[in-house]
Amino acid sequence: MKQVLKLMIAAMMLGLPAQAQENSGPLRIEITEGIIEPMPIAVTQFVAENAGAEAFASQLTDVVISDLVGSGLFRNIDPSAYIGSVTNFNAPVSFPDWKAINAQALITGAVTLTSDNQMVVKFRLFDVFGQETLIGLQFAASSQSWRRMSHKVADQVYARLTGEDPYFDSRVVYIAEEGPKNDRKKRLAVMDYDGANTRYLTGTDDIVLAPRFSPNAREIIYTSYETGVPQVFLMNVDTLSRRVLDSERNMTFAPRFSPDGRKVVMSLSNGAKSDIYSFDLATGQKVQLTNTSAIDTAPSYSPDGNQIVFESDRGGGQQIYVMPANGGAAQRISFGKGRYGTPVWSPRGDMIAFTNISGGRFHIGVMRTDGSQEKLLTGSFLDEGPTWSPNGRVIMFFRETQGSGGAPNLFSVDITGQFLKKVPTPTFGSDPAWSGLLE
């Protein structure tokens, strides 16, 4: 199987044209307030600066637009409404032309192919009404990495206009599903965050479940039935070599990495009960963190590594608890209607995403880490398994339809719950887990 391309992106500041004028306040979107109307922007077709760059320039522009519009925060103005045009990347911008169509921001770019299939992408972000250049950057990398360069451009624009960390240059590991409901085949798969470039990591022989990326996205932990019982495996994404974590033949599942990547926390079931264990990847040392007669599962570390959020039915029903990372007294934090499971700590540390089952429906929701300010973002026959974008502003999950033809697909929703969309995958998909921002 093909090695994952390593992207070496050299970024340098472009000289900013002396266009900065008086400013009527920063051009900025506040995400937390709930976007009623997306910001109108104009992403002009990137200019191909030499032969062979045309196709790249066109595709790259499309991905930048798709990223920004797909965030739900921006609306790209149709080029048929343009008064001005950008055919030369270095020609001065005529701000009145863009003001006239109410473009709040203008993005221009250019693509040059150099020798050895290297590609240089330049772009500028303008505040149209402030008549100011906000960003001027250029990236150089292999032309095979053109999609990642597109995501890098969109990430820069998103970060500058929202004040948030970006998330477009990231990947998702998930379970690709095919076949009828009573004979479903499952494969481990990775893709770009937007559903492009799916690559399968396993065959269909064994059931695989709930994969998660290591912090540097070079390794994946997941549950497989390869040995006949569910067991947690560690796989290298490049070489596909894998090993079972627990040397004993226990049923283990629901693994997640610690933020430093040195440990894995997971559930171990002896049948009667399921407890949470941490597993040191270097030493193989296994430490039991919970010890009740209950089902304790779905553990997730806080980003500082000091706490673990998990689900347990120790109180009689499935609810969410928080405990110190080394075990100890657990505090219940979910007190709303119904059952709560699959808690995941936000990479920002401020919130916990979960699955809620109430009223015969499944919901994806978020709450503060003390359980306050709970908000359900989605609801359907079966919405399950949230995962956070690297910046903690978007949640991906899977939605399964009901009935004999029922099947799962991947969806994403922003944390205001206003912008829900399907993530396209070649097959059915479930159990998504987002990587951090790629390096």
Binding site: K181, R184, P230, M251, S267, G271, E311, Q318, G385
Partner: protein
């Protein structure tokens, strides 16, 4: 010579039957429930069919290879206990068999929770069989959570069939 040959043939037939049943249950193709398993095409029905009380087919069909559970429960119902009494007696009489108990859940729960719940169900069956005198080392358990539904509709009619623990019997040593 003749005796050896016969012995080998018999072991082969038994192993084949066990193998076939296991595959059907695991892949969930046995959509007809208890009566759908244990087909013995090409094999003398007088030897391995339901008429032979030592056969896997007899265990699966006449005694019953599975028990069902209430929503989110792993408590054995009176019906389940009656079935398991039959399984225990059969296993006491047929000591060359080991078992794997599969625990399953319906689709009305999250994946990880259902894995733990399926384990609880398989374990409840194991505990009961052990209490009836079956050696613990003859019993393996595995949970499939909601991964292997038998019935595919999204109503209680199907869900009730999927909340199950299935006792698979086979010759050979338990792993």
């Amino acid at each position: 010579m003749t005796f050896m040959k016969m012995g080998m043939t018999l072991a082969c037939v038994l192993a084949l039957t066990a193998c076939q049943d296991f595959r059907q249950n695991e892949s969930g193709l046995d959509g007809n429930g208890v009566n759908g398993s244990g087909t013995t095409t090409g094999v003398d029905p007088n030897l391995t069919g339901v008429n032979d009380p030592t056969s896997v087919a007899y265990f699966n069909q006449t005694i019953g290879d599975r028990v069902l559970f209430q929503v989110d429960q792993s408590t054995l119902t009176p019906t389940a206990i009656s079935t398991l009494d039959g399984q225990a007696n059969w296993l006491l009489a047929n000591t060359s068999y080991t078992t794997t108990i599969e625990g399953h859940a319906d689709e009305q729960g999250t994946r990880e929770y259902n894995l733990a719940l399926g384990a609880r169900r398989a374990n409840a069956v194991r505990d009961y069989l052990v209490s009836k005198g079956i050696a613990a080392n003859r019993i393996d358990i595995v949970t499939y959570g909601k991964e292997r539904p038998l019935a595919v509709c999204s109503t209680e009619e199907c869900w009730s069939k999927n909340r199950r623990a299935v006792t698979l019997v086979a010759t050979g040593l338990s792993s």
